[in-house]
């Protein structure tokens, strides 16, 4: 009995040591990631200040941010996926965080535009059919066929000249954004990627902290049992 307790205590201590080393490595990684984030954001803030110097203080401020009345869609999306910690037989899990950026240029919905055109054509035909005589019905059929051909040609041309909307947030601040503003945007986009990395490291660290606490409690119980004996 004493031998088995000794063995389990040794195994616990080995596990705790292994987790402690992982914790220290992850803490170091998290601090480095945060320092890199600070550097990128500092560069971004400096470029924003330079832009304000040339465009004016109020040109790049919270006044340009979307109000609750305007519906805006985010261009940066976060996807989390569960990952099992190596060497723990699939028991312990943390979340890996990835960020993806959408294309700011989005096409306008085509169906609404075509539907309106077709409906106006239909209403025109109804209005004219009431006044049409039997002789003109043949002409109407021919014109319908030609309209259908024109519609298919229009669809082909519409595909190439479809209207699009630019949802780039840089447009909130200026129609012709300056180079410093574009560079600031690039800096903040890189910061967002670093944030995903920090979130992944943090999630892993939290998981290891929990596991460390759990093993510590078991060790206290085992130590308490030994003392009673």
């Amino acid at each position: 009995m004493a031998g088995s307790i000794q063995l389990s205590r040794e195994a616990l201590c080995d596990g705790l040591d292994h987790l402690a080393l992982q914790q220290l490595r992850l803490m170091d990684q998290l601090i480095r990631c945060n320092m890199m984030l600070e550097e990128k954001t500092r560069s971004g803030y400096f470029l924003l200040s330079k832009t304000r110097y040339s465009m004016g203080t109020n040109a790049v401020s919270s006044l340009q941010l979307p109000s609750p009345d305007s519906e805006t869609e985010s261009l940066a999306n976060v996807v989390t996926s569960p990952v099992f910690l190596e060497g723990y037989k699939g028991d312990i899990m943390y979340h890996r965080v990835d960020v993806s950026f959408k294309d700011p240029v989005a096409p306008l919905p085509e169906e609404e535009e075509e539907g309106e055109v077709f409906e106006t054509q239909k209403s025109k035909k109804k209005g004219t059919r009431k006044r049409q005589t039997a002789d003109k019905k043949e002409q109407m059929i021919d014109s319908d066929n030609s309209i259908l051909e024109n519609d298919s040609e229009k669809k082909a041309s519409k595909k190439s000249t479809r209207k699009s909307v630019n949802r780039d947030p840089i447009r909130w601040f200026s129609a012709l954004p300056q180079q410093t503003l574009r560079q600031a945007q690039q800096d903040f986009k890189s910061s967002i990627s670093l944030i995903a990395e920090c979130a992944t490291i943090q999630s892993k660290l939290r998981t290891i902290n929990k596991e460390y606490s759990r093993l510590q409690e078991i060790k206290y119980k085992v130590d308490g049992g030994e003392k009673e004996e």
Binding site: L30, I31, S61, L65, P66, N77, P169, N209
Partner: protein, 123 residues
């Protein structure tokens, strides 16, 4: 919300003007159909209660996976941030601001990790 659910989750931000402007310029800003923004600009007139309410709202939303908060603002609602230990998501990241550089001794996660070690454990 339906767009976010189908294509990914959001990053929320609670910070000073420069932080919010910068990250929204990066493309994380959204105002959904319920007129709920995913950001809060904190200035000298913003009360601690407002920050706390906004933080709790972001924590309850299921379309937000990361909450960015300036470290100096996080200090004001430290008691709320430290009490939310159970759920891994949304992840709360304390980021430095223009006027306050990053201090690892104030970070919640790092403090919790450091606090696991005591002199008795090393025996």
């Amino acid at each position: 919300m339906s767009v976010a659910a189908a294509q990914g989750k959001l990053i929320a931000v609670i910070g000073d003007e420069d932080t919010c402007v910068g990250f929204l310029l990066g493309g994380i800003g959204e105002v959904n159909k319920k007129r709920e923004p995913n950001f809060l600009v904190v200035d000298k007139n913003t009360s601690v209660q407002e920050i706390e309410d906004c933080y709790k709202k972001f924590m309850k939303r299921d379309d937000i996976d990361i909450i960015l908060i300036n470290q100096n603002i996080a200090e004001q609602i430290r008691h709320v941030i430290d009490s939310d230990n159970d759920n891994p998501l949304p992840a709360v990241l304390e980021i430095p601001s223009k006027d306050h550089p990053y201090d690892p001794t104030k970070d919640s996660v790092l403090r919790r990790a450091k606090g696991l070690y005591s002199a008795d454990d090393m025996r």
